[in-house]
């Protein structure tokens, strides 16, 4: 697993490169020498049981706090050299809901567009497009409070795409959603990665959210235990499905194995 600087099969540069990142909460090690890359046009699933370090990793990538060791680059930019500008090509859907409930969908999106410095007219146009592709256009004037969980998530996805990011992070975005909604979101994100050439990092502990052609990074207790495409990982572990492979890799101690 020494190929962190490697290019993908088609030769494209990674949009996210995580290199030897370690992190401690006091004496507890949350991340241990984590390395992997995310390539444009592909979905990379960050698979791990709860508490494996996924959210910590996301906090580091989004710069909520800095990693004391290792290097994180977004489209070749490290926060160490680029400061806040490193976050420009990044779109995020956080695990917690982050919309203002008492504002309308439009107001929420306009606020975000303003933060990204988009002019009003362009922002409105992009909003329209993003919402249309998620079937949410007609709800633009509704207050977020009146939307159900699935619709709120879609608004957050639309928001994360407003500034045409090159890297999209999703931290367990389907938590608490029913199955049809989950499937729709999974399908949409995969499609989006392909059509818009976005690199997607999708944190999850649910195998059915992973498509056979996705890249996979399996972490357990803060360590990367496997990396590669689905087929390779199944082969390496000598199993014929991801659930079994995952169990072997994480040592059976998974409370929530949803196959």
């Amino acid at each position: 697993m020494q190929d962190t600087a490697a290019k993908s099969r088609d030769g494209s540069e990674p949009v996210l490169s995580v290199e030897d990142v370690s992190y401690w909460y006091g004496a507890k090690r949350a991340l241990d020498d984590v390395s992997f890359d995310v390539y444009p046009g592909r979905v990379t699933a960050l698979l791990g049981p709860n508490g494996a370090g996924k959210t910590t990793l996301f906090s580091l990538i989004t710069r909520l706090f800095d990693a004391p060791s290792g290097r994180i680059e977004i489209v070749g930019r490290s926060a160490l050299d680029w400061g806040f500008k490193a976050l420009e090509p990044l779109g995020v859907v956080f695990q917690q809901p982050t919309l203002d409930l008492d504002l309308t969908v439009r107001q929420n999106l306009r606020y975000f567009a303003a933060l990204r410095g988009l002019p009003r007219a362009e922002a409105d146009e992009r909003m329209g497009r993003a919402l249309t592709s998620l079937d949410m256009k007609e709800r633009i004037g509704e207050k977020v409070r009146s939307l159900n969980g699935g619709h709120r998530r879609r608004v957050e996805i639309a928001r994360a795409l407003l500034h045409s990011p090159k890297l999209l992070l999703l931290d367990e975005p389907t938590i608490g959603l029913d199955d049809p909604t989950r499937e729709a979101i999974v399908r949409h994100i995969h499609e989006l990665a392909r059509t818009d050439d976005i690199g997607v990092l999708w944190a999850t502990h649910l195998f059915d959210e992973i498509e056979p052609r996705d890249d996979l990074v399996v972490i357990s207790k803060g360590r990367v235990v496997a990396r590669g495409d689905v087929e390779t990982i199944e082969k390496e572990t000598g199993t014929d499905n991801l659930g079994e492979a995952f169990k072997r890799l994480t040592g059976d101690k998974v409370e929530e194995v949803a196959v």
Partner: protein, 271 residues
Amino acid sequence: MSLIHYVRAFYGIVWRELLRFLQQRERFFAALVRPLIWLIIFAAGFRAALGISIIPPYETYITYDVYITPGLLAMIQLFQGMQSSLSMVYDREMGSMRVLLTTPLPRWFLLLARLFAGVLVSLFQVYTFLLVAYLCGVELPVWGYLIALPALILTGMMFGALGMVLSSTIKQLENFAGIMNFVIFPMFFASSALYPLWKMREGSWILYEICFYNPFTWAVELIRFSFYQKMNWEALAVVAGCTLVFLALSVWAYDPSRGIQQRKAMGPAGG
């Protein structure tokens, strides 16, 4: 990009805060009723019991309700500052603080814009209160209403920044009861808001000292003097100095390479 990005982001942050403020009419109402109770009930009773002699900036005898008005304005701003920074804590738990902090702009700018948005909300409250107070017979110098504005912006920044420091560093202050008991009440009562400091000195020397070193006292005096078109340099220096210190501390607390955010982040979401 660059400058226009800052302008748009600033506008967006202020606009969101005003929208949220307009949605929360109960909060606005509460912010208005609180000082009015002091003004109408407390001041009416005290008017008889307490005589205010002529002290600067006053040049004539004034009634007690006129005396406590600047203190009540400061109280409105202190409440708003604390509420605004508490909502930043909720924002952080709700995640919308994360949305703000992943904006590709310097953090000091984002925090300052957020702070200023809160100050603007406090100014709405202050001037509405002044209008109601005027209708109740509390008349201040006409030009004072305008000239006090810069002072009110500065004091608003000070309280907002103080709230930001407290809420980002002290875990116990993350609910409003804690803020009321340990910040708002002590600051308000141990100040020149309700009685002039010389009156306090007659009562207790220690209390006088506490009031004297309370930044709230200086915020009240800055507002009071500016209403009478007089400059209290000492008050200006204290308020400006405190604002800068509190600002620096809160920017420090939100710096990604410092420890405070990470310790906080451990709590709710461990995964």
